[in-house]
């Protein structure tokens, strides 16, 4: 069905079925600011829209008019709102309306009103709509893997209508394509914590840590998995500082040359503040990175507290991560003496 063809060319004033309606011009006043140079077809369409909106006329012709108005400016939430009122009053087929919205969304994937309209429709259609909505968001994401609206909508669909079965696998695919896709990592966290098909964060933790560690080792400069790793221990810092995989990972990264050490150092700093007892290897790895001439000698090393290690880390970061020099200085000042 091709809506955008001859049907739309005729303006209301050219159609006999609108002859009984007086178009209502916009009350801009004599000297409006930010006045937009509307094209004649826009002005006329909106004048007729205002008339039916004011009259609260919920008819088929009004529905068609909202379509034309939407084509001209999909961002007009008043038009969308009125369209919903008409759809309800006329008991229109909402699956068909979904077809309609899908077409409009093709060129407007970042338009809030369109996604809001979709959510409204899907809610009314219920769990049967889940599959279609997941497919739709997948399509949008295939062109724009980080589209915020698409991800929000997808999450809403999963929580309200279901369809969790393939979600973790879908997430994995996206990460395979782009391990730097933070939206996909965020979705993964959502699935791990919220999916009724999985055991919850604690149950999933071990396998997730393995997955994340592998991702980090492949690209230690990738911030996403580092934050994800931290997130796996949210509200459970004891498990975090005691998991050997975490400190082993940090050590591995810190002892690799030509590698970005910032996130590893930052992680160790956080671990320390939550009570990690650092191993000798970890201390040495950090000391090796310290460009300062005053390195701790072995005597001091054995008696140095975790806080002087924290101090050293902050010093290293002040140079290795110069953009955040003020942040690292602040972190240093926050270390408990």
């Amino acid at each position: 069905m091709n809506w955008e063809e001859d049907e739309e060319k005729l303006l209301p004033s050219q159609r006999p079925e609108w002859s009984d309606v007086s178009p209502l011009p916009q009350d801009d006043g004599p000297n409006p600011v930010v006045p937009i140079a509307y094209k004649p077809e826009f002005a006329e369409t909106m004048d007729y829209f205002r008339a039916v909106y004011r009259a609260d006329e919920r008819s088929p012709r009004a529905l068609q008019l909202t379509h034309q108005a939407i084509l001209l400016n999909p961002g007009n939430y008043t038009v969308w709102h009125f369209r919903r009122l008409i759809l309800e009053t006329l008991s229109k087929d909402l699956q068909q309306e979904l077809d309609y919205v899908s077409k409009i969304a093709e060129k407007n994937s970042k338009n809030y009103q369109i996604w809001h309209h979709r959510r409204w429709l899907a809610e009314k259609l219920g769990p049967d709509a889940a599959g279609r909505e997941l497919k739709f968001t997948e399509k949008i994401l295939s062109g724009d893997a980080k589209n915020y609206h698409a991800w929000s909508h997808r999450q809403w669909v999963l929580q309200s209508l279901g369809g969790w079965d393939d979600e973790l696998e879908y997430c994995h695919q996206l990460l395979e394509e782009d391990i730097f896709n933070n939206s996909a990592w965020n979705q993964r966290y959502f699935i791990i914590t919220k999916s009724p098909l999985l055991g919850g964060l604690q149950a999933m933790r071990e396998s997730e840590v393995k997955y994340t560690v592998a991702a980090i080792l492949a690209n230690p400069e990738n911030e996403s998995p580092w934050r994800y790793l931290r997130g796996l221990y949210k509200d459970d810092p004891k498990s975090w500082i005691h998991d050997p995989q975490v400190s082993t990972l940090c050590l591995k990264v810190l002892t690799s040359s030509g590698t970005n050490h910032v996130f590893a150092l930052s992680t160790v700093l956080d671990l320390l503040s939550h009570g990690l007892q650092p191993s000798r290897e970890l201390r040495e790895a950090v000391d090796t990175l310290n460009p300062a001439s005053s390195r701790l000698d072995s005597q001091e090393n054995s008696s140095s507290t975790k806080d002087s290690l924290g101090n050293t880390i902050c010093s290293v970061l002040e140079h290795a991560d110069a953009m955040r020099v003020n942040y690292w200085r602040w972190r240093k000042s926050q270390l408990i003496v």
Partner: protein, 439 residues
């Protein structure tokens, strides 16, 4: 779980994120490199804020907009706010006629039952209400302020931005109460993600715009300490990249508008008592900025050669060599070694100014997202707002002007200070406070 083979294979093949990021980095570093290679005198010119051009661009927008703006036909109060606020930041004002026209127009956007729509005859909407109210506060004066019909509104939990716009408006109009705040705190709390930033809805990705809205809203309802602030600060600190500007989300691209959304978060945090700030006070208390090193200390540091440390773009460990250096001129980037570390702003204010002025500023007027993108009023507003945040990040209080060392380029680049909770110019905010406190 993947094997080592797959991991190495992926390492060789650059991902879409990496490709996009390196393209932007290259462009930005070319600009910094070119800047570094021109003579001092030319550098000074480029660092200048093109005030006249900006005001011209902005005023023109207030007077007329082309047909392509039809996509913003339901956002005209936003256009008003972006333009009027930008003009106010530049220390200018619109002529009386334009001012009257603006007040008149906005009153036509007002709904009889309260709130403002995107245009005359449109339904009221929280976001457009926020924009309209902020526009009128920015214009200031009896006529503008008395044109607002104050009304009570159910915030609803649509998303974090809705919470902020509702609470911000209620607060500035002095009609904020417990009823409105109830439930909002729990909702925003549930929107803080595992990354530390705040999302638009529970479960969504941490995002700069929503982080600002969420934190500001929490502060306005006195519940900021319920957030995991350490985690929030860590997230936002890492949003400033090698390009010197801010990104909105992890592993996404730098964008000038985040100069305010992310930079503003720091401005808010600095004022919190937890970080040595004086809080936000009430209208009858002079709000003091966190003070830092004495001017004596600053002068000393400025003479030290250690301080003229140019910002070096990091070399990606894939071996991808980005274009070399950034400005070495002391009028450009340098890091202040303050004596009082913990009171320094927690982000790199000079670097951000560098991005705004060299990459976002358009010489013909207006600001843009990033090099290669077109200017627009939204980015003009938030780049200037972010610039103001940077300039005032070390100010003792609103009455003592910032030190020249806080301002990138000539001191004449100095903008007006903003109130970071509402993003309106401080003076206009206080005037509105006085006006509405009488009710």
């Amino acid at each position: 779980m993947e094997g080592e083979g797959a991991a190495t294979e992926r390492q060789r093949r650059a991902t879409a994120s990496q490709v996009d990021q390196w393209a932007v980095q290259d462009h930005v570093f070319k600009i910094y490199g070119a800047f570094a290679s021109i003579p001092r005198s030319a550098q000074s010119v480029i660092l200048e804020l093109q005030r006249d051009k900006h005001v011209e661009y902005l005023t023109r927008g207030l007077q007329q907009l082309g047909p392509s703006f039809v996509v913003l036909d339901a956002n005209r109060p936003w256009l008003c706010y972006w333009i009027l606020h930008s003009i106010a930041l530049l220390g200018e004002s619109v002529d009386d006629e334009l001012e009257d026209n603006a007040i008149d127009f906005l009153s036509r956007c007002q709904d009889p039952n309260g709130g403002y729509g995107g245009g005359p005859g449109q339904m009221p909407h929280l976001a457009t209400t926020y924009a309209a109210v902020n526009s009128l506060v920015t214009l200031g004066g009896n006529k503008a302020l008395s044109s607002i019909n104050r009304w009570m509104h159910d915030a609803g939990e649509i998303d974090v931005r809705a919470c902020y716009t509702a609470i911000s408006v209620a607060s500035i109009l002095n009609i904020l109460d417990d009823e409105l705040a109830k439930g909002v705190g729990n909702y925003i709390l549930s929107c803080q993600t595992y990354e530390g930033g705040i999302a638009g809805e529970p479960g969504s990705e941490a995002h700069g715009g929503y982080t600002f809205c969420g934190l500001a809203a929490m502060i306005l309802i006195n519940q900021a300490n319920r957030l995991d602030l350490a985690s929030l600060i860590d997230w936002v600190a890492f949003r400033q990249g090698v390009e010197c500007g801010f990104q909105g989300r992890t592993n996404k691209l730098v964008d000038g508008c985040y100069s305010f959304w992310q930079g503003g978060v720091f401005a808010l945090l600095q004022r919190l008592p937890a970080f040595g700030g004086e809080g936000f006070g009430t209208s009858d208390v002079e709000v003091e900025w966190v003070s830092d090193s004495t001017s004596e200390g600053d002068d000393e540091d400025r003479d030290s050669s250690d301080d003229n440390e140019a910002l070096h773009p990091e070399q990606d460990q894939e071996g991808h060599q980005s274009s070399s250096h950034s400005p070495e001129s002391s009028t450009a980037v340098h890091i202040q070694h303050s004596r009082h570390n913990q009171l320094e702003p927690l982000f790199h204010t000079m670097a951000l100014q560098q991005y705004i002025v060299l990459c976002s500023q358009e010489q013909e007027g207006g600001f843009r997202d990033k090099p290669g993108k077109a200017r627009d009023y939204y980015h003009t507003c938030y780049c200037l707002s972010g610039l103001s945040v940077c300039q005032y990040s070390r100010s003792k209080n609103e009455n003592s002007p910032p030190l020249p060392t806080s301002v990138l380029g000539p001191y004449s680049n100095l903008l007006e200070p903003i109130h970071p909770l509402y993003n309106v110019v401080s003076r206009q905010y206080h005037d509105a406070q006085d006006f509405f406190s009488k009710y």
